[in-house]
């Protein structure tokens, strides 16, 4: 056991190349209704120290994807495929026992709801110390001292008192900070944050995101930020991946995505968040329709049924994920991307249809 630990650790620190490399990852769930294709052929790479935002509405498979990478899904009824390479090592097929040496140590995770993510019957100090004692074999006193320092790192006032408190005695923002401290404890190389701010007050959200960014820079850690809110990732990640119906539909560096998105779905997502520049009381546009049924996904482009620019081809053929002409790091999956002549044409045509129908 201890040997594997050393190997992974050495591998993570030294081997060159991307930290995380996903090739055609699939995660399917067997349900009484049929196979749910929650994640359906996702590929991307993430470099060391980089941050990636995975964006999509609920049901897009973003949470499942992040949990698939961590290997945190229940094993029964789950079918996984494709390859997940972490620091050059295949982790997609590892069992719980092997993953346990990676969890908390190499990869860590932060959950959405800080109210339910901490053990209500354990003191904060014990919960932070736990991974330290398991992975680094620290003594009780060392672990407590480290826990105290971690609490300081995540800017929790009066760390000594907090160590002796129970989760219910802390506010939501405080608890999320504790979660971050737990995740940071063993100095992981990758951190997965699943909707880390959704359950928090708006004022606290920004603080937590800033804290995450700061920790990432300080510790040269990769960060995967999963959220439904494009606004959350806008200022906090290097790259953004947009997911829809279990597929990756667009991925680009953050600036570029906002400036030159190709996918109508991304466009729709962006249109649904309020912008500072808009006059007040501007009506936000909503995406009509509902997320696709993942048991029987639409043939062709999965967004086609809801896409205002869809044409026949969209409903019959699935668009491949291709790079844009000018930037290889910007990939998208659309037959008639935003800005193309067909896009404008079909937009006008569909608008006219709508008027007619009305």
């Amino acid at each position: 056991m201890s040997q594997t630990v050393n190997v992974t650790q050495a591998a993570t620190r030294e081997i060159a190349g991307p930290l995380l490399e996903l090739t055609d990852v699939t995660t399917h769930f067997r349900t009484p209704r049929g196979m749910v294709r929650a994640v359906d052929g996702v590929s991307f790479t993430l470099d060391r120290g980089q941050s990636l935002g995975i964006v999509g509405e609920s049901g897009s498979g973003k949470t499942i994807l992040s949990r698939s990478i961590m290997g945190l899904l229940p094993t029964r009824g789950t079918e996984r495929g494709g390859s997940i390479k972490f620091a050059g090592r295949e982790v997609g097929n590892l069992g719980r026992k092997q993953m346990r040496t990676i969890w908390g140590k190499e990869m860590a995770m932060i959950f959405q709801d800080p109210m339910t993510s901490l053990n209500p019957l354990m003191k904060i100090g014990a919960q932070i110390s736990e991974p330290l004692r398991i992975h680094l074999g620290m003594s009780h006193a060392d672990a407590a001292a480290t826990a105290r320092r971690l609490l300081q790192d995540v800017r929790i006032p009066e760390p000594d008192r907090r160590l002796e408190q129970y989760p219910h005695e802390l506010s939501g923002g405080m608890r999320q900070r504790v979660m971050i401290a737990i995740a940071m404890a063993c100095g992981p190389t990758a951190l997965f944050a699943d909707e880390p701010t959704t359950a928090l007050d708006v004022t606290v959200q920004a603080q937590i995101l800033d804290l995450l960014g700061e920790q990432r820079r300080d510790r040269n850690m990769s960060l995967v930020l999963v959220t439904h809110d494009l606004g959350v990732v806008a200022g906090h990640t290097d790259e953004i991946a947009v997911m829809y119906g279990g597929k990756l539909v667009e991925k680009a560096p953050t600036r570029r995505l906002f400036a030159a998105m190709k996918m109508p779905y991304t466009e729709a997502l962006l249109a649904s968040i309020p912008k500072m520049a808009d006059p007040s009381h501007t009506r936000l546009s909503v995406i009509g329709g509902r997320p696709p049924d993942l048991v029987h996904p639409p043939i062709g482009c999965r967004f086609a049924p809801r896409c205002p620019y869809a044409r026949e081809k969209c409903q019959s053929d699935e668009p491949p994920l291709i790079a844009t002409d000018d930037d290889p790091s910007h990939t998208f999956a659309c037959w008639y991307p935003v800005g193309s002549p067909e896009y404008h044409e079909s937009r006008e045509r569909n608008a006219a249809k709508k008027v007619e129908a009305a």
């Binding site: 349900t31 049901g59 499942i64 949990r67 229940p74 029964r76 509902r290 049924d293 993942l294």
Partner: protein, 318 residues
């Protein structure tokens, strides 16, 4: 059950059609346990009613209650199970199978009666204390605490014997036969658990929107209690009634075993008591009544469990 538990992880699209039911559900075949329980209870009830009230119908499989089985010209005590006496014969050459069936009537009547008593009294206490809360709740909870602090069997023992004595002193108690005594006593034992569950349900119900709405529309107390709360308490009461029935029938057997049963016909507990001294000579005389008792209690428990599952009432499941 298997995969739906993992549902929180799988973000199901909102418009997903409901899961396809299994073949059993689509054909409306109840699960095996329910089927078994219903068949067992219906069969037992029918048989015992026929045996007690229309013996001629079942005379081909059963002997009249007081029949002594004879073999070779003398009473056949402790005859092993055979083609004529399926469960064998007992200490006084009685047919065990017939006795098992006769006794079921009393057991079932006492069980149902005691459950009704418990439901009515316990339900009343539960609703009142859950609805009015405050002092009413405090006093009734002390009352239920008191009941719960006495072992049910002890309370029943004392009460039944006292009722026996009181019957001799007060003539107006003469209607209180042993059957009534046991029914009332076990009913009292059931009051506290029933009251607890009904109270808990009432407490959650009274905060629900439809009760709030009725109150805001100016509905008076009795209307809220009888029209809004009571109908919504029926599932919970039905569930605890079935679970309670199983427990009360077991308690009746315990009492009968201790010699406080109905004189005639002998119930299962009494049969076990009579035959236990010769348990090494005739296993059938104790094992078959035990089996009847077990299957009947099990059936009621299974039905209670099924109802608890259907109505999602956690407190009531065993």
């Amino acid at each position: 059950m298997t995969a739906t538990i993992e549902a929180p992880v799988v973000e199901m699209p909102a418009d997903a059609p409901p899961p396809k039911d299994s073949l059993r559900k689509r054909l409306h075949i109840p699960r095996f346990s329910v089927l078994f329980s219903v068949l067992w209870l219906v069969g037992l009830t029918t048989l015992t009613l026929l045996a007690n009230y229309a013996p001629s119908v079942v005379q081909s499989i059963m002997y009249p209650y007081s029949t002594k089985i004879r073999a070779n010209g003398k009473a056949a005590k402790y005859l092993a199970p055979n083609a004529q006496n399926w469960f064998g014969t007992g200490k006084s050459a009685e047919d065990i199978f017939s006795h098992c069936i006769y006794g079921a009537k009393v057991t079932l009547i006492i069980g149902v009666g005691a459950t009704l008593v418990g439901l009515i009294v316990g339900g009343f206490i539960g609703i009142v204390s859950g609805y009015f809360r405050g002092w009413t709740d405090r006093i009734s909870s002390i009352f239920t605490d008191c009941l719960l602090s006495i072992p049910p069997l002890l309370l029943a023992l004392i009460l039944i014997l006292r009722l026996d004595d009181l019957k001799d002193v007060y003539s107006w108690l003469s209607w209180c036969t042993r059957t009534w005594q046991i029914t009332l006593t076990l009913g009292l034992v059931a009051v506290a658990p029933f009251a607890r569950i009904v109270r808990a349900q009432t407490l959650t119900l009274r905060e629900r929107e439809f009760v709030m709405a009725a109150r805001s529309l100016g509905a008076n107390r009795s209307r809220i209690i009888f029209r809004e709360l009571l109908p919504n308490l029926v599932p919970a009461m039905l569930t605890v009634a079935f679970t309670g029935l199983g427990i009360l029938i077991a308690a009746e057997a315990g009492l009968a075993f201790l010699g406080l049963g109905v004189e005639s016909p002998h119930t299962w507990g009494k049969m076990i008591d009579i035959a236990r001294d010769d348990i090494d000579k005739a296993w059938w005389a104790t094992v078959f009544p035990c089996l009847m008792l077990f299957l009947t209690v099990l059936s009621f428990n299974l039905l209670g469990d099924e109802l608890a599952r259907r109505f999602d009432i956690r407190e009531a499941s065993v």
